[in-house]
């Protein structure tokens, strides 16, 4: 999978490229609009990440021209502008997704993967992490065969964590998926719910699955990290 990253901020470009490389993507970077447009025209990319504020040609112009040449390539727009009008303009120009700076890398990654329609957006009916099992059809949760009763919010939170098992999800991402943006002010609602969820899911068991990554967010067990 080959991704074009058009971003003029050296450091932003570098950490995104590094993160994507670690996820085994091939990444080309462009530091200005002209180079970006040139690359987008010459190479068949699987996905383009496009910053809006660029020297040379602006991001929205590039988007229009890319769409002219290649109507199918997914384009994810990065921007420091979050006005609704700007969003609408870019969706109309053909953007597939939109991410406002600053963002958590995990969020960028999840959105890229969603656009490429490949994992980890699991469509499985039963999600498993270690001995924890979540059945999406019956909405039942079991650990080591024992039934666990969850409220609907706790269930939604656990499902979101388990679908993205192994990834660190930021509080903002959790709020936006499980609640809505209105809660993204000052509240510690995520921490409260995670604590309640832990009491039910982890407390009685030796092996703790829900992990806090300080400064970043929460993740549920397995894989590389422990």
């Amino acid at each position: 999978m080959r991704i074009l990253l058009v971003e003029d901020e050296e450091k932003v470009s570098r950490f995104i490229a590094r993160g994507l490389l670690a996820e085994r993507f091939a990444v080309d970077t462009a530091k200005d609009g002209h180079t970006g447009l040139q690359l987008a025209t010459d190479v068949q990319y699987d996905l383009i990440i496009l910053d809006l504020m660029l020297p040379g040609i602006g991001g929205t112009d590039i988007l229009r021209r890319v769409r002219h040449i290649n109507p199918n390539v997914p384009v994810l727009v990065l921007t420091a502008r979050d006005a609704l009008a700007s969003k609408v303009e870019n969706f109309e120009a053909g953007a597939d997704d939109y991410l406002t700076k600053p963002f958590a890398f995990t969020e960028l990654l999840l959105r890229i993967k969603a656009l490429l329609r490949r994992g980890p957006v699991s469509r499985a009916d039963v999600l498993r992490v270690d001995d924890l099992e979540l059945d999406r059809l019956s909405q039942r949760v079991k650990r080591a065969g024992q039934r666990i009763e969850l409220t609907s919010k706790e269930y939604a939170l656990l499902e979101y964590l388990m679908v993205n098992a192994g990834r660190v999800l930021s509080r903002t991402m959790i709020i936006e998926h499980v609640w809505d943006q209105s809660f993204d002010g000052a509240t510690n609602i995520v921490d409260v719910y995670v604590r309640h969820l832990r009491n039910k899911v982890d407390e009685p068991y030796e092996n703790k699955l829900i992990r806090t990554v300080r400064g970043v967010g929460y993740s549920i067990g397995c894989e590389s990290d422990q």
Partner: protein, 469 residues
């Protein structure tokens, strides 16, 4: 009627002044007329006395009987209600008029004349309440010695004239003042009505519609100048305000890119598995601060957009009561977590036109604030009701409350009543500013009442949805 309005005060002053002047005028007229009438009467009495004196000049030749006849005939004191008495030089009455027709006085009851050194007048109070004015003229007798000529009249007519004047004045004065008050009030209202319009339109202009101007009253007078000056002031405010909100927006915007890099680098670093725990801890702490910085930037941008009227506001009809009930349900666990009883009292539908997500944010921020500042075991109540024209949303807690010093500043950006505590709780210092900005953008307002140590009451008031529209 507002007792402090210019119209009212001007009218009162003007009417008071007019009343004072009229009373003064009336008093002068009364006293002046009284004085004048007395003078006139004394003058006429003096003339009579002089006439009698002329008769007495030749008394030796004509005889006393002639004098008496002349007096009776020409002066007719009884029929004209006059008093005439002539006293001989040695005492003894030469002539005394009889009781007058109207029995106003009895001459026989009057004290005898004493010889005055020169002409003089005196007043004798009669049982009827009127005064008998007597003019006394000493007149030299050709035979030597002095006659005393007395002429007198009752001042009843004078009193009647003055009484009439007093009645006329006391009737006319209130009438004139009343007309003056009414007329003055109407005149003032006419003259000041542009002022009311100016005040009304100035009232409509807030931070979200500084681009609007007030209608200029083309009257060519001070009021036109006032409205022009006010418009210029609004224009200057608009420029200053645009400056600030542009700056805030630009600053927030410019901060985002470096924040993205910072966050990305830190997150990437945190991925290294071999990091020593202290370093992991430090990076985590740095990431937390980055997160907070992002929220501050986001909040600032949101507030400045709302203030500048640039926010993309949705306007849909929604039931505030239902929104409040649903939101408080979502916040319930946060309250229970602190053993706080959260109740929502939303008995009926309360329809407003507004931005659902933003109004929800108002409820979330107010509830979050109330829960944060209420001790375990406390109570937080959310109430929604509709008054005649407003939807009212109240959040009341029995928590720590807000000191009187802090109360006026509570909605200011970054204002923290208890600095150490709120920062420790990780707030951005913008929650209540956002609440206020959202309320204002909806044409509403938010107020707070609080007693330190007893709790706070935040009340949001929004315009109810127009039933027809």
């Amino acid at each position: 009627m507002n007792a402090r309005s210019i119209r009212f005060r001007m009218t009162v002053w003007y009417a008071g002044l007019l009343a004072g002047l009229l009373i003064l005028f009336g008093a002068f007229a009364y006293v002046g007329l009284e004085h004048y009438l007395h003078e006139m009467m004394i003058e006429s009495l003096a003339t009579q006395a002089q006439q009698i004196g002329e008769l007495l000049k030749n008394v030796d030749a004509s005889g006393e009987a002639y004098v008496i006849d002349e007096v009776e005939e020409h002066l007719a004191p009884e029929s004209r209600s006059r008093f005439i008495r002539i006293t001989r030089p040695g005492g003894g009455t030469l002539f005394e008029s009889g009781p007058p027709k109207d029995r106003g006085f009895d001459p026989a009851q009057l004290p005898p004349a004493l010889l005055p050194p020169r002409e003089t007048s005196r007043e004798i109070e009669l049982p009827s309440g009127y005064d008998l004015m007597i003019y006394m003229l000493p007149y030299p007798s050709p035979a030597g010695g002095q006659y005393v000529i007395e002429t007198g009249a009752v001042d009843r007519e004078i009193d009647e004239v003055l009484h009439g004047l007093a009645i006329a004045l006391s009737l006319a004065l209130p009438l004139v003042i009343g007309v003056a008050i009414g007329g003055g009030y109407l005149l003032m209202r006419r003259a000041l009505s542009p002022l009311q319009e100016i005040a009304h339109s100035a009232e409509q202009i807030g931070s979200h519609n500084l681009n609007e101007r007030m209608p200029v009253a083309r009257t060519g007078d001070e009021l036109e100048r006032l409205s022009i000056s006010l418009n210029r002031m609004i224009a200057r405010l608009e420029i200053a305000f645009q400056h600030i909100s542009r700056f805030t927006a630009d600053a927030s915007h410019e901060l985002r890119t470096p924040l993205t890099a910072l966050r990305g680098e830190l997150e990437a670093t945190a991925q290294y598995p071999q990091l020593p725990p202290e370093v992991r801890e430090t990076i985590g702490s740095a990431l937390e601060e980055t997160e907070r910085l992002s929220k501050i930037v986001q909040g600032l941008l949101a507030v400045s957009r709302l203030d500048a009227g640039e926010a993309d506001m949705e306007r849909v009809r929604l039931d505030l009561a239902e929104l409040a009930a649903a939101t408080s349900e979502q916040m319930r666990l946060m309250a229970e977590d602190k053993s706080i009883l959260l109740t929502c009292d939303a008995p009926g539908k309360v329809m407003v036109d507004g931005d659902r997500a933003r109004l929800k944010q108002v409820i979330v921020n107010l509830l979050d604030n109330a829960i944060s500042y209420t001790a375990p075991g406390g109570k937080v109540q959310l109430r929604i009701r509709a008054t005649a024209h407003r939807a009212v949303l109240e959040v009341e807690d029995n928590g720590t409350g807000i000191s009187q010093d802090a109360l006026p500043h509570i909605f200011e950006r970054f204002y923290r009543a208890d600095k150490a505590r709120s920062r420790q709780m990780g707030g951005t210092g913008l929650g209540l500013s956002i609440v206020q900005a959202i309320c204002l953008a909806h044409g509403g307002e938010v107020r707070v009442e609080s007693t330190e140590g007893q709790g706070s009451l935040f009340s949001v008031s929004l315009p109810l949805a127009n039933q027809k529209g």
